[in-house]
Symmetry: C2
Subunit: 182 residues, 2 copies
DNA sequence: ACCCGCATCGTATGATTCATATGGTTAGCG
DNA sequence: CGCTAACCATATGAATCATACGATGCGGGT
């Protein structure tokens, strides 16, 4: 029950367990992969080490499966829930962070060949179309399942950004076509 | 001139020096802060260690100021330029990555108080308005300065994403108003 | 001329995070 | 009943990160 530093990752773990109920690391990995993972990346190894830390801090409670794999099942404690709620109530002063290699390459277009830019744009268009299809399928499947609907709202933002990106890269492709990067 | 692993950061450094000409680490820090920094984040310390690495690998050339601070001035070598161009020609198979704390908190809205969501939305609206103003000012100032214009194209994507986010959070704020998160 | 204060500039540090490789386990199918 | 594909977990060293601190020099005021 010692005092520990909680990172964003910690709160995602707490939040996921609070939403889903008792979960194993693997459960978390899968649940996060289809949701929060889209706007906060995790190496899965962290989903094994982090719950352990949180358990040692008294924010999670550990239970082991009786048989089979004897997997570790974590559930949230009162003080875990309290920590989470405090965090949710805290103001967010940060702007989102983006890491986009494609944009970097485009920024350096002066140093690249014109066919490089065309290729880049084409690939990005495909990327975003794929992602849009993914999101839309989720929207379609879970959009009006009552007990998950409140979590689906972030999908709208995901889609909005995807469409913005798609439009942009289409425009870049058109410019490349017209020889603007030569 | 040993073989080293080059990261995205490495290429940004190479690219910046290729664009700007001979530069000190501090120059890089500033130039990146107003441009590529918006879609790839750097702790500034890396802009001191990375050029050193690249110099040891023969991709940059080091020159020291004669007087004063004797700052280290880096310029790109032939093999540096070649490495950069190879990278620019490589296809990008990755989708951009996002890290957005606000979205995480919204995802967990079921666990938070309704006034938390309203507050969150309000803050995000301000964040994005501020960022939009920033971008638009850049657009306005440098939009038709011939020698930097080709680098300004990424601004459009930045703006597109900002507007998508702004719309989204306005919608969330309106929903909060209507009591949808209670 | 000189000195003071602020902006400029640079580096070291320990803590986190990360990618990746490797190794068990189990269900279910043939 | 044995085999294989999917499932599950951890260890490791490298890369990244935030942050704190230290140094330098320019400009203005006296």
């Amino acid at each position: 029950m010692s005092r520990v530093r909680l990172s964003t990752t910690s709160y995602v773990v707490l939040g996921m367990i609070a939403l889903r109920g008792p979960s194993t690391s693997y459960d978390l990995k899968r649940a996060i992969g289809r949701s929060v993972g889209y706007f906060w990346n995790f190496p899965h190894a962290q989903l094994y080490s982090e719950p352990k830390r949180l358990e040692e801090a008294g924010l999670l409670e550990l239970d082991e499966e009786e048989s089979g794999r004897r997997r570790k099942i974590y559930s949230i404690t009162e003080s875990g829930r309290a920590a989470l709620q405090d965090w949710l109530a805290e103001p967010v002063n940060a702007h989102f962070e983006l890491r986009d290699i494609a944009e970097i390459k485009l920024f350096f277009n002066e140093l690249a060949g014109p066919e490089d830019v065309a290729r880049l744009a084409k690939d990005q268009i495909e990327q975003h179309q794929r992602r849009i299809a993914e999101y839309e399928q989720m929207q379609h499947r879970y959009g009006d399942v009552a007990d998950v609907a409140p979590r689906m709202i972030t999908l709208r933002l995901g889609l909005g950004m995807e469409y913005a990106a798609l439009d942009f890269w289409r425009d870049v492709a058109a410019r490349a076509e017209r020889g603007e990067f030569s």
